[in-house]
Amino acid sequence: MEYVIQQAINALSVGGEYALLALGLAIVFSIMNLVNFAHGELITLGGYAMFFAAATFVGNPVLLLPICVLTAVVAAMLFERIAFRPVRNAPATTGLLTAFGVSIVIQNALVIFVATRPKPVPVPSWMQGTMSFGGFNLPVVQILETGATVCAVAGLVLLLTRTNLGLAMRAAAKDFTVVRLMGIQANRVILGAFAVSGFLAGLAAVFILARRGAVDPLMGFTPVLKAFVACVLGGFGSLLGAAAGGLVLGILEVVLQATLPSDVAGFRDAIVFLLVGAALIWRPTGLLGTRAELGDKE
């Protein structure tokens, strides 16, 4: 029983992590048709900010957590300002390739200026432990992560439904031109979307780093790849689809991890992707995606 509960909370936390990342990708994509390949680098940069802050002026590991999130937000906004603004109205492939380039630049800049080897990141010791919950021992990180995901998604829903900016974002996903005709500044909406996506990535980064305990230049790739797959599975551009896709992917992964015999466990990611691929053959536009019709936003 304890094992089942542990695996369930594990699945929720992994799924939550993917959902946070996938939501960040989806919110940017829905507004400006950009697949942010460099989303994973927000995690990496957040991690390095923690590393440098710990090495220089921050003694208390708890203070490192907001630094990580803040760095991710600022980095996301800088990416938009510097790299993505020139390709704003370009086709999706152009944006994707630009972001791919940005991701390579950041990875290699970190290789050049910091190091290839992983650097340790201190996290508060209470995050590493387990807590007993209704008689079961569960890892604190996973419970926090599940909780944080729920809070973040709730906050996102409030932002999207209760604020002007959120309304503008949702409208921009349908038709940006009309939004701009209503007197809303395009730059503000897009910058807002990047800030939100950076915040979600930073939040996920905190938990990813708490698990790994170290940061290296290439660490952002695997999580963001999973987030991509979650987005495609849910239907690209749909926020609900991204969250659902992330959750399904996380659950699938944990189930396979728990049931696969050890000699094929290394193939887990390949099996997950193949299953997702099979699902997409059945529904090419994703679980919650819609078919493009003539005249739709392209």
């Binding site: 390709v87 492939t93 290699n108 050049i112 290839t116 992707f273």
Partner: protein
């Protein structure tokens, strides 16, 4: 047949450039330059192969490096002498540790295997559109990499597979890349290529005109997979040693930078971009090792090549989205130039008549 003849003619310009490069390298190059030249032709074959899919369908593919890996490993497993195989992969499935084939059948089989894999994967990829397809190719790259590194009985896992007979040289590379250019041009100018390019400009309109978009994407994907596979064969049969990392991210973004810089819409763009990046990355590689230039001692900087490749992609996308050649072929540029010359003369002639 007419198309084949015309394409042969149109291949002459890039072929002449490539032959010139090969002769130059072989005549004046030290062993190191010859090696660089060979790698150039390998990359060129792969980039031209990648162009067949990306240039015609307009869909980016991050997965093609996997095809070069599949072909390279097939050649390696089929061609490596039995003695060596007994120590490298003693538990290979399907009794592959007891089979050894000559170079030609191995290469043909490798291309065949790559083609079959490409076709099967293509069945899924060609159904997805736009961003979904692009991420599908990325997932494919990761799947193949996971299989290479985890199927230890067949691929030796993350360790290198060595002892592959070294049979190819620079002339093989030259021949393969010229054939690749010819195939790519033939496809681009064929009915299929034209229809597929139309669909990349406007998918719904092309569909409405009766273009079988999915099938054409599948054909382009499979064909380009085989050509990229030929590049993998060259790599395996010249280096003699391969490892899964040779067919993963670094190769992917190297190919991507080469293709995008030249302009993915034309075969000539692929050739052009490969030449420029090959020269450029030689320079950055020298800088990376921390040389002493003009009396200044530069520090070692690993990652510089990657940094520049990424920067090239970002800058090209921001400032010259269509690449150096902007989707034109060499012969288009040639035609333009001659036409402009003629036009410059024409008014003068008209004045004379008056």
């Amino acid at each position: 047949m007419d198309l084949v003849r015309q394409t042969l003619l149109r291949t002459l310009i890039p072929a002449a450039i490539l032959v010139a490069i090969a002769i130059l390298v072989m005549r004046y190059g030290q062993p190191y330059q010859i090696r660089v030249g060979y790698v150039f032709f390998i990359n060129l074959t792969m980039v031209v192969g990648l162009q067949i899919f990306m240039g015609n369908s307009g869909t980016a593919s991050f997965g093609h490096a996997a095809f070069s890996g599949i072909a390279a490993y097939t050649v390696a497993i089929l061609m490596t002498p039995l003695m060596l195989k007994r120590t490298l992969i003693p538990d290979a499935p399907f009794n592959l540790d007891q089979v050894v084939l000559g170079p030609i059948p191995s290469i043909i089989l490798a291309l065949l295997v790559t083609g079959v894999v490409a076709y099967v994967v293509g069945l899924a990829i060609s159904r997805l559109k736009g961003v979904g397809a692009e991420i599908g190719t990325l997932a494919f790259l990761v799947i193949v990499h996971v299989v290479f590194t985890n199927w230890i009985e067949l691929f030796r896992g993350p360790r290198a597979f060595y002892g592959i007979p070294i049979i190819s040289n620079l002339w093989w590379g030259l021949g393969a890349s010229i054939i690749a250019v010819f195939v790519a041009k033939l496809f681009r100018d064929s009915k299929y290529g034209v229809q597929l390019r139309a669909s990349s400009d406007n998918m719904l309109a092309a569909k409405a005109m009766g273009v079988p978009v999915d099938r054409l994407r599948l054909i382009a994907w499979t064909l380009s997979g085989i050509v990229v596979g030929a590049g993998g064969v060259l790599l395996a049969t010249n280096l003699g040693t391969i490892a899964p990392t040779s067919f993963y991210f670094n190769q992917t973004f190297l190919m991507m930078a080469m293709l995008l810089l030249g302009g993915m819409r034309s075969v000539s763009g692929a050739v052009c971009g490969t030449i420029v990046i090959a020269l450029g990355s030689e320079i950055t590689r020298t800088l990376e090792s921390g040389p002493v230039l003009l009396g200044i001692d530069f520090p070692e900087m690993f990652g510089l090549t990657g940094f520049f490749l990424g920067a090239v992609i970002v800058l090209v996308m921001a400032f010259r989205r269509e690449g150096i050649l902007a989707g034109e072929e060499f012969e288009d540029i040639w035609d333009d130039m001659t036409r402009r010359l003629r036009r410059d003369k024409a008014p003068a002639a008209a004045l004379d008549e008056r």
